[in-house]
């Protein structure tokens, strides 16, 4: 039985149907990348997988002993207030809370876990800074560290690369690869970086109004949809607009 099974689910915002008849499964040890155009419903799907939004049709089931408090999550946009007073350490530590039940106070192991994730993401020096005074990319790293702290079995990331510099982005891919390979964490990631997605993931879910795709990366690369998204068409000689303009300039 898979961790998550979606059987012909439909997602709506009032009158607007975002996704229809979508079916896919996520099993233990998977590394799934979700791709698609802006506004195609990737974030909505994530919220629904997390139980933040109800399903409006079809069936979504959890299985294989997956509990909600074993999931880590990085939102695309969080509703954190600008003026909230919180230190980086406090924010990262709060990711450890979901495994605690009613036990009060953080244990030494949890503090160690938080410190480790901060080291991984290179934010140890920021630990005592105020979260609201960090740059966008630094904040993103703090939230990533918090998500990693919360992760026991499954990690959901909604565009984790937003605002990260190329070094940290590469680092993030290797961190994800590591926790996936070595710790057996299942990863679901929304991304616009389709090339990296194809390179790192095991399977791809492409969501879209007209056509969607669910399958392995190799199969995805062969579909017309995948070819278009992988940017085969963006070679210079294919750029007809530019060619036209250059041609006109030469004529005059």
């Amino acid at each position: 039985m898979a961790y998550i099974t979606c059987d012909k689910i439909t997602l709506r915002y009032e009158a607007l149907t975002v996704l229809e008849n979508l079916s896919f499964t996520v099993s233990q040890g998977d590394y799934l990348c979700i791709v698609g155009e802006n506004g195609s419903g990737k974030s909505t799907l994530m919220k629904c997988l997390l139980g933040l939004k109800p399903v409006d049709g079809g069936k979504l089931t959890y299985g294989d002993g997956l509990k909600r408090n074993e999931i880590g999550y990085l939102p695309q946009q969080s509703q954190i207030q600008r003026s909230f007073p919180a230190s980086v350490r406090e924010v990262v530590l709060s990711g450890c809370l979901n495994g605690k039940g009613l036990h009060p106070f953080y244990t030494k192991a949890e503090k160690e876990r938080a410190a480790e994730q901060m080291r991984c993401l290179n934010i140890t020096e920021l630990a005592d800074r105020s979260y609201r005074e960090l740059s966008g990319g630094q904040q993103q790293r703090v939230l990533l560290a918090r998500a990693l702290c919360a992760t026991k079995k499954l990690l959901l990331l909604d565009e984790p690369l937003t605002g990260l510099d190329p070094l940290v982005a590469t680092e993030l891919y290797s961190i994800l690869q590591h926790i996936h390979d070595a710790h057996g964490i299942t990863v679901i990631m929304v991304t616009h970086d389709v090339e990296c997605a194809v390179r790192h993931a095991q399977s791809i879910l492409h969501v879209g109004k007209k056509e969607s795709f669910f399958g392995s990366c190799a199969a995805y690369e062969k579909t017309p949809l995948g070819k278009r998204f992988l940017g085969d068409a963006v070679e210079p000689e294919h750029c007809e607009n530019c060619v036209h303009e250059h041609a006109e300039v030469q004529h005059e």
């Binding site: 909600r68 007073p85 009060p104 106070f105 919360a150």
Partner: protein, 278 residues
């Protein structure tokens, strides 16, 4: 101005001042702790709404001849639960729902008390009367305050998490509804206790002022909580002293002190910024 040495006889201190002092410090402690969460969760209105409900309940209790505090605490806890649910899934929007609900409760209370002709007795709860609390009231409020502080400390980390990012907490499997309810219950208890002391009109400022003052001064959650507690207790002590000295109402004096502390914090913040820019 009063001559303090004339008022402060040993007997007055032992029988009236000391119990008031203890109860006041305990309640200031609770209200500042919860105030931080209410302000950060953007629901300071709940404190205000609950004080209306509390006042209404106290009026009814007095009119019926019941023990006011012991009736008010459970009723206000129930109201806190209802207000929370209303603001969660109401078509009216949280603020409106709270205002409608709480003023209705207030109206019922006033109606009951005007039927029973008890207006003088009940106005205590409107403006507060910390120096007129009975020994039973003092003991009751100190015990409840200790409970509130203990529960708050035990759940401190979770209260931080649901205040900071409710969606993340819910998505990663925390029981957000339970912790919201917990905050509401603690707030309800604090409001009723504060009402005896500060009056229904002023209790919500006792919760909100220390929190916003502390937020001006500190940048970390723990720092804010600790600063709020210090500000709240200090302002209470200063306010009580001021009221003895000038023979003014205790509740109002405390709020004036809170206001002064807030203004000082604003000025300190401005000075800090100015010195950084230079």
């Amino acid at each position: 101005m009063n001559d303090l040495s004339a008022i402060l006889t040993p007997e007055y201190i032992a029988v009236i001042l000391l119990p008031a002092l203890i109860a006041g410090v305990a309640v200031s402690l609770c209200s500042s702790l919860l105030g931080v969460s209410l302000v950060l969760k953007r629901c300071s209105m709940i404190g205000d709404g609950l004080s209306h409900v509390g006042y209404g309940t106290l009026c009814v209790a007095v009119a019926m001849g019941w023990a006011p505090m012991q009736v008010a605490v459970p009723v206000v806890i129930a109201a806190a639960y209802i207000l929370l649910r209303l603001s969660e899934n109401s078509r009216l929007g949280g603020d409106t729902a709270i205002a409608l609900f709480s003023t209705s409760a207030l109206a019922i209370g006033i109606l009951a008390s005007s039927k029973a002709n008890l207006t003088t007795d009940v106005s205590h709860y409107m403006f507060g009367s910390i120096l007129a609390m009975t020994r039973g009231d003092v003991i009751f409020s100190v015990i409840l305050s200790i409970c509130v502080v203990l529960v708050y400390l035990l759940f401190y980390d979770k209260i931080f998490a649901v205040t900071f990012d409710e969606n993340f907490a819910r998505a990663t499997g925390m029981n957000v509804r339970f912790y919201n309810l917990l905050i509401a219950v603690l707030t309800a208890v604090t409001v009723v206790l504060g009402m005896m002391m500060m009056g229904a009109l002023l209790i919500s400022s006792l919760m909100i002022f220390p929190a916003v003052t502390a937020m001006r001064l500190c940048k970390r959650f723990r720092g804010v909580v600790i600063a709020a507690v210090i500000v709240s207790v200090t302002c209470f002590l200063c306010g009580l002293f001021l009221s003895l000295l000038l023979d003014t109402a205790v509740g109002a004096s405390v709020v004036i002190m809170d206001l002064a502390a807030y203004l000082i914090a604003v000025i300190i913040g401005k000075l800090k910024k100015a010195s950084q820019n230079r």
